[in-house]
Symmetry: D2
Subunit: 364 residues, 4 copies
């Protein structure tokens, strides 16, 4: 099979580097195009990230010598790549505009950025949860008059650790009324240079700008329904989030207490919940997408797990690990969930989105 | 004024060292006696902690040359110290028995250990919250037939960061029905050697043995009432705790969401809450106890505070710092609270207890 | 090919776990036997490491259900494994005695422990440097009257980062007269629980017991010569070591200044040195041993490399990465070298030793 | 005594904040003037550092409400402050020019910046080592035609940990020929935001731009001699430095191996060296300058000290702590030295310089 040529926008930033790294031997896609700010444009990729390549020791061979293009020059990408991954780090409005320009030039955009997350005909995908949201793309194309181009996004990394467990419960017939979530988030989520080390040695920071709002809101779009050319948000669960930055490189941990929207007698037992999680499978598993975890939710029984350093890389860094499932004196249950924020929560999650779109024929 | 001679049991452990350090120039008390396990007994204090003195660079001069006694030999302490601070690190039953032996030998015990926290006539003191719980001591003495001896304890360090804010609200007429608390706790809380560095570099551990149970339960005794020779627990708030160990040396942070037990119209505004906290004063402030903070609850307005590294030492490490007060989409309010776990939460809290007991004449 | 059944002694400790993990899909060897202290004996491996499995999320499937044996019961291993990896963590004399018992029972011991490093007929192997030291095994067997059993060891992890670069220079005709080395060593080198986190957050410890002596001395045996049934130490280089513990999980870094034992005119240029390093290959590469790095010494040109987090995993964690090669105002040259202390420096280094011994027919 | 009004240039950066903090209750000096970039100008100091006050919990009361001035507007400072501390963080040439403008406006500059360190009539002071270098100020004033203004600087923080021990030995008659130094430097030395946390969690960086050159060169000016209107550099010792960034907040550690320039028989014993260090006193001690340590060099005997977390605050953070003094197999002796980089090595060192200049009448 001939691989599909793809581009990476924002290729020199931390998430961009992750894309480059993870796409190195991808069975479907091949990075043939990199673009970044005008500062990097014209340099080889190797030169552009000189002294700040952050993912392992070496840049993948195939990308080292690619000449970085100016991301704002959409025409340069035309004819070179079938679609682009967007890991742009710019002003939100600028990203929105630029991603739309790519789409209008027949270049679909699979984006990691938040700029288009709230556009109501842009799907915000977690392939295990809402693969059918790709149905909205037709409406999106129609609205813009785009031919082949479109935009699909992924949600914030902070909610990836608990969305799959929540969704699995909802899908199994246990709707969640409300939940209180406290996250302990890794520094890679802030990009590079990101959080100063002066703030992360012998310290935590109980605040991440914009994160709590995203976590509380994006949840509802992901659980929403495609109807009348829009994605209509779900009404529940109500989420209250406390987001903290902690001195961890990769892996977001979430402490969750939740209440079911069910009469007491219909609430699931802890055993039932574990069984729902362990057996949860979805479209990416059925389609055997290459980046899909075999088992999306892993349950651990050790008292002190999940831990970022031990569990983040489970199943290619794409599984969510859940542990400490127990009753909650205030709500119904509580547990700890963990996912790899730059794999599942960013670049590899974006790649999985692209794999889903590819499997559904959106890049044909 | 002649200082009162005091002893420190468990003097070589981390909390014991903190006591030695903090009592160095205390206006009331002077450490004249140190005791630890039989392994240390007979050595000078300096020799006993050789290579593992953990608090600043130097052992206080007055203690260096004291010969460490065997803590299990209660008779050695008789006549030497008016009371002892207990920072014993042994099996719980052994601590309970030993603390009672000291008390029965006319040596009051101001304890940091958890062994006697649930004895129903032992006060578990936070002097700003329940100073009147010292009233139970008479019943305790009577039950045991003790003359001068008695036991008073302090609660677990994990709840110190939010107990004062909660209590201030309750006292101001805003009872709390229930709360969900997630703590990010410092490694010094686990003593020394404590948590392995292999678990605390690029990692957090979402579990601390016994901590959640303590946090959920001790709260109710502290808010309880002395009645009929017992401390009767309060009925509320119901607490659900998620306790995490994070790579911070000192300073426990708590993310709190809480619900008032009030009709909507009677719930306090955020402004009112801040005002309650800022103006909160109690017995230790009235008595001007030397280790009491001038202002027990400090409110910060920066979006990213409190932080352990910046705020733990506020007001001698005895103030609780609260920040990020905001509405909670699930309950009524949420906030972040922080206190110094080895000062307010352990040794200096114990010293404040002793100062209260002293001021009330319990050591006469 | 049928795999050779092997055992791991000290299987529950940190290095033992590394062996289990790294041998999971080894082409030659299969772990069929695990042994540890009597405390673990009788439990399944999974039970024995419950709550303290430290290497990734899961224990390899094939080992989970093995019943851990008492390492001191040599007879239990007989007939079960062709040889054993020793990762024993006991008193040195006890290890020495026990390893000899295994050897005398026809079970060769490939050891990670320091107990037998200074036995003069025990080879201390780094396969790229002194593969011919296996010649001493015949003398060792003869002295003890052993038949199939023997002991081979690996050196301390602290010198692995600079030994290969030094050796490559010596072999290329540039003898080293003396060198001053300062190491920044990872906490995994201290085992588990190892270094307390209280000492490794916002701190470094400029001392590692016994490490400087090992580093200074072992170097000379490794560079020594097999003669008259002994390994005779090399006379140079003279090494002065400063060993520090730093808050890094894996990867020892060494800052090296060295002086050649050559007239000024014969000293190599920096270019020549780089070329010597880059082209260095040895017996493991020729034999294509499965754990051997393709290129044992990697040279980097970025000003700020090597760094543990970026470079430790280069070439399966078996390559040494060298950077910052530059002239030294005091000696001739200086550079920074880095190797993975629990892969190259411990378990995978031990496995490479076993692969060499296997390739040479020592397990037949 | 009425306090001398002083200003702080670069008052909002990390070193500037340290000055503000440390001058809070200074017996001689009072901060009445703060200046920073034009971005901060016009705001109160409190507003200007909102959300990034880094030194303890609170800004000193007296400074909170000062309106920050534009540092480039020298005229604004005239008449307001008797002298200024410069903690400017700008382009080096711009700093040089600006510091000279202040000096030419009759405002002496006590600088932390490196811009004027190599001006040959600017003294680079460590008051315990070269207090007589203030003699050069007359020549400096004369060259520029300045009246009251002048510039005095302090050296780089990296060498402060070993300069005092070296100087004490030289002064006692034990000249040092050459030394190899490896530093483990704290992140506060890089200012704020400084080193990204992504580089300092589970990692060290074996490179600090420009640091090795400074360490190797500044040493010689400090040990130099005022002659003919210049400071003539010393010829020895020759220094080779390896500078590393490690995950420590404050406190630079140096591992030093050194060779005396003496015949073997005249070299000092370890006992003699310790005695030289312990008894070392100098001009700041004689003058009882308020920020001077009582004992400039502290020697520790524990095997694992000095450590940043334990020893950096010794004697107000102004003492150098030395430990692990032992023989060196390559040179004569080796040891570990530690100093607080933002107290002794930056702001408090600058304040001590000002105290010396004040005591000598330079601000009259």
């Amino acid at each position: 099979m001939k691989k599909i040529p793809v581009g990476v926008l924002g290729a020199t930033g931390m998430v961009g580097q992750r894309y480059i790294y993870l796409l190195a031997n991808h069975p479907y896609f091949e990075v043939v195009y990199t673009a970044a700010s005008s500062r990097s444009a014209g340099k080889t990729y190797e030169q552009a990230v000189e002294g700040r390549w952050l993912i392992g020791s070496d840049i993948p061979e195939g990308v080292k010598k690619l000449v970085v293009q100016d991301a704002s020059d959409v025409s340069a990408a035309k004819g070179k790549c079938r679609f682009v991954f967007s890991a742009l780090e710019m002003d939100k409005d600028a990203i929105k505009k630029l991603e739309e320009e790519y789409a209008s030039s027949d270049i679909p955009v699979v984006s990691n950025a938040s700029a288009n997350r709230w556009t109501e005909d842009v799907p915000m995908l977690i392939p295990e949860i809402n693969p059918e949201h790709t149905d909205i793309i037709a409406a999106q194309k129609k609205r813009h008059g785009w031919n082949k181009g479109f935009i699909a996004v992924k949600p914030n990394c902070s909610l990836q650790s608990y969305m799959a467990p929540i969704f699995a419960l909802i899908k199994a017939g246990y709707p969640v009324k409300r939940m209180i979530v406290t996250t302990l988030q890794a520094v890679s989520g802030a990009g590079y240079p990101g959080v100063p080390s002066f703030d992360m040695i012998d310290n935590i920071v109980p605040y991440i700008g914009g994160e709590e709002e995203k976590t509380e809101k994006e949840c509802l779009k992901i659980l929403g329904t495609v109807r009348n050319g829009k994605i209509e948000n779900a009404a529940a669960p109500v989420v209250a989030a406390h987001c903290n930055r902690v001195p961890v490189i990769d892996g977001h941990t979430a402490c969750v207490s939740l209440e079911f929207d069910l009469p007491q007698k219909d609430k699931p037992s802890l055993e039932r919940i574990e069984s729902v999680w362990t057996s949860f499978r979805s479209v990416p598993q059925e389609l055997k997408l290459p980046s899909a975890p075999v088992q999306p939710i892993r349950v651990r029984h050790e008292t002190n797990r999940p831990q970022p350093a031990r569990d983040r890389d489970t199943d290619k860094g794409m599984a969510v690990t859940v542990g400490r499932l127990r009753e909650c004196p205030v709500f119904d249950i509580r547990f700890v969930a963990l996912s790899h924020n730059t794999k599942r929560g960013a670049a590899l999650g974006g790649i999985l989105n692209a794999e889903l779109l590819y499997a559904k024929g959106f890049f044909d």
